[in-house]
């Protein structure tokens, strides 16, 4: 019984984290039809910027609680710098090409960003565990859990709710949904599609970076962190259905629970289990659980 509780709690915590890192990926795909392989690198970028900021904050002896504000700040910085740079500098020349060509383009971006990170930050690890330890821990079913994990869960809920509200409750969001459904028609009705794309990619970059920034205190920040995350985020998004917000939530929950169950019961097959679930879901529902029907064109 205790173990089941632990599986559920771990699963929910892990799912929240997955949800945050998967959101940006699914948003960018949903609007721009770009499966962004550089997503993991943007996530790593967020982690590095957060690590640098928090490190400098503590080195100067500022009040420790203030360091929490730096995590989202790092994400905003990365989003506002890297997002427009990539969208205006590279992607906008390639709209209308095959989806698979755009995947290859983002793969090239991934290669570039990986080295850029190594050039700027080197290959040694950065550890900023202060925000992680600062909140103390609570006990559940006999196991200690850092309170910071609750911050992750709360962040996932807030970000998910905010994005849903923007898409469904605001004028800009409704325009965006219109563009998703029919880009040409949207443009014909006077929506500035090119600006929509710029904003979407920037927001997606910010979401990737916020995932990295929130993760930075819990791990040592290393160059390889982006490579690992990207396939996980894919698994989540693909299970839920590319471009679907509730899909990402469900995918994150499934992957999170499967992983935590496997960690507790079959630790040998942790990594294996995630991709197995992804493969099984794709075999049963090729376009993911929440994907709509598409017309075949002759």
């Amino acid at each position: 019984m205790d173990q089941l509780a632990a599986v559920l709690v771990d699963g929910v915590i892990y799912s929240s984290w997955l949800f945050i890192i998967a959101l940006g990926l699914t948003l960018i795909y949903g609007v721009m039809r770009i499966l962004n392989l550089a997503h993991g690198s943007l996530y790593a970028l967020g982690a590095y910027v957060a690590a640098s900021l928090v490190g400098a904050w503590f080195a100067n002896g500022y009040p420790p609680m203030g360091s929490y504000a730096l995590l989202p700040a790092a994400a905003v910085i990365v989003g506002l710098v890297a997002g427009p740079l990539i969208e205006r500098g590279v992607l906008r020349f390639l709209y209308g090409k095959d989806e698979i060509v755009l995947v290859l383009v983002t793969y090239a971006l991934f290669l570039i960003l990986e080295d850029l990170i190594k050039l700027v930050w080197g290959v040694e690890s950065y550890v900023i565990s202060e925000p992680y330890g600062l909140l103390g821990s609570f006990e559940l079913a006999g196991l200690p859990y850092p309170v910071y994990n609750l911050v992750l869960v709360a962040a996932a809920l807030v970000i998910g709710a905010a994005l849903t509200w923007v898409l469904q409750g605001t004028r800009a969001g409704k325009l965006l949904v219109a563009v998703i459904h029919d880009r040409e028609m949207g443009a014909a009705l006077g929506i500035n599609v090119s600006r929509m794309y710029l904003v979407t990619f920037t927001a997606g970059t910010m979401l990737a970076a916020v995932g990295g920034a929130l993760t930075a205190p819990t791990v040592s920040v290393l160059p390889a962190m982006g490579v690992e995350v990207i396939v996980l985020a894919f698994a989540v998004v693909v299970i839920g259905g590319l471009g679907s917000l509730p899909g990402a939530a469900l995918g994150a929950l499934i992957v999170g629970l499967v992983r935590s169950a496997s960690v507790h019961y079959l630790p040998q097959y942790e990594l294996f289990s995630i991709y197995l679930v992804m493969a099984l879901v794709l075999l049963a529902r090729p376009k993911g659980l929440f994907a709509g029907v598409e017309a075949r064109k002759i």
């Binding site: 499966l35 590279v90 020349f93 390639l94 095959d98 989806e99 698979i100 060509v101 995947v103 290859l104 383009v105 793969y107 090239a108 971006l109 991934f110 290669l111 570039i112 990986e114 080295d115 850029l116 190594k118 050039l119 290959v123 490579v227 990207i230 396939v231 894919f234 698994a235 693909v238 590319l242 040998q268 097959y269 942790e270 990594l271 294996f272 289990s273 995630i274 991709y275 197995l276 992804m278 493969a279 794709l282 075999l283 090729p286 376009k287 075949r296 002759i298």
Partner: protein, 310 residues
């Protein structure tokens, strides 16, 4: 049609075999690895001609290598040729099963599912301590079809890799010229029309997938023998990404392009890694962007264009 490509391939094989006699050891080793990886990219090229991009060819690359490793370590096989054949066969069997599942998928869904399959293998290999887990293990072949061979960078293995590459390229060239082979570009252009014309898209996709897997399995086996070591990294998605990269760079214009592409890639990697370990990927990425933006048919199109002029 007088077959210029076949003649060029025979000439290339002759040059390779003669050049191998005078090349230094490091160049031999580099050449075997390029030929092995070139075989993988050759398979990738066939898939790309069919309109499919696989982000999981590392799966078969690793299967080929691990078939060699297991036969060598567990069953004490030491003949390189047998082991390469076994690697290709193992890849074919797995590809038959997975290919049947994959044949209904296209575009990014095909790419993602192949990626998932190869990551499953990676996850398994990392966790299986019997197969050396993350460290992998060493491979040591002593003979090749009965002929003794000294180490991974020997002329014997080099000659074998050259002949295998020749057979792969020539076979694929013949296949692509055949009626069955010509369906592939048609599928890429419009598969519904292919169906209306009475060909089975599913069967052709499966066949091409299996052929690509066999080439990757053989390539992985050859690389395993040349390097003398295998590890799960061979099934990781970045390895597959590398193959995609070389395939894009080479383009689908000629069966020789994958080998030139991977030789170029290996050479650049070896040099660049030595002089600037932190920027070489960046250069590769920039090169890839440039190729996609300005040379959509790959580097090979540069040669083509020149030849087309009077």
């Amino acid at each position: 049609m007088s077959d210029r490509t076949a003649r060029a391939l025979v000439l290339a094989l002759a040059i390779l075999l003669v050049a191998g006699l005078v090349l230094p050891k490091w160049a031999i080793s580099l050449a075997i690895i390029s030929l092995g990886k070139g075989l993988v990219v050759l398979g990738m090229m066939l898939l790309m001609r069919t309109g499919l991009v696989s982000f999981g060819q590392g799966l078969y690359y690793a299967v080929g290598a691990y078939a060699v490793g297991i036969l060598n370590q567990v069953y004490k096989f030491s003949d390189a040729m047998l082991m390469v054949a076994a690697g290709a066969l193992a890849a074919a069997l797995i590809a038959l099963v997975l290919g049947a599942l994959l044949a209904g998928y296209r575009a990014i869904f095909f790419a993602m599912l192949t990626l998932a399959f190869s990551m499953i293998l990676y996850g398994l290999l990392v966790k299986s301590s019997a197969l050396g887990s993350t460290d992998g293990f060493n491979v040591d072949a002593r003979t090749l079809a009965g002929i003794p061979m000294g180490g991974g960078a020997s002329y014997t293995l080099y000659a074998f890799a050259s002949i295998a590459a020749f057979l792969g390229a020539w076979g694929l060239h013949r296949y692509q010229g055949s009626l069955l082979g010509r369906i592939a570009p048609a599928i890429r252009d419009n598969e519904l029309r292919v169906e209306y014309l009475g060909a089975s898209v599913r069967a052709v996709v499966l066949l091409n997938y299996v052929i690509a897997a066999v080439l990757s399995g053989a390539g992985g086996a050859i690389v395993a023998l040349a390097v003398g070591h295998i590890d799960p990294e061979m099934a990781y998605w970045t390895t597959s990404g590398e193959f995609v990269f070389v395939a894009i760079l080479a383009g689908t214009g000629s069966v020789a392009a994958p080998f030139l592409g991977s030789a170029l890639f290996e050479a650049i990697r070896t040099v660049a890694y030595q002089y600037s370990p932190y920027t070489w990927q960046m250069v590769l990425g920039a090169a890839m962007l440039a190729v996609i933006m300005f040379l959509p048919s790959g580097l090979w199109s540069l040669f083509e264009r020149r030849r087309a002029r009077p």
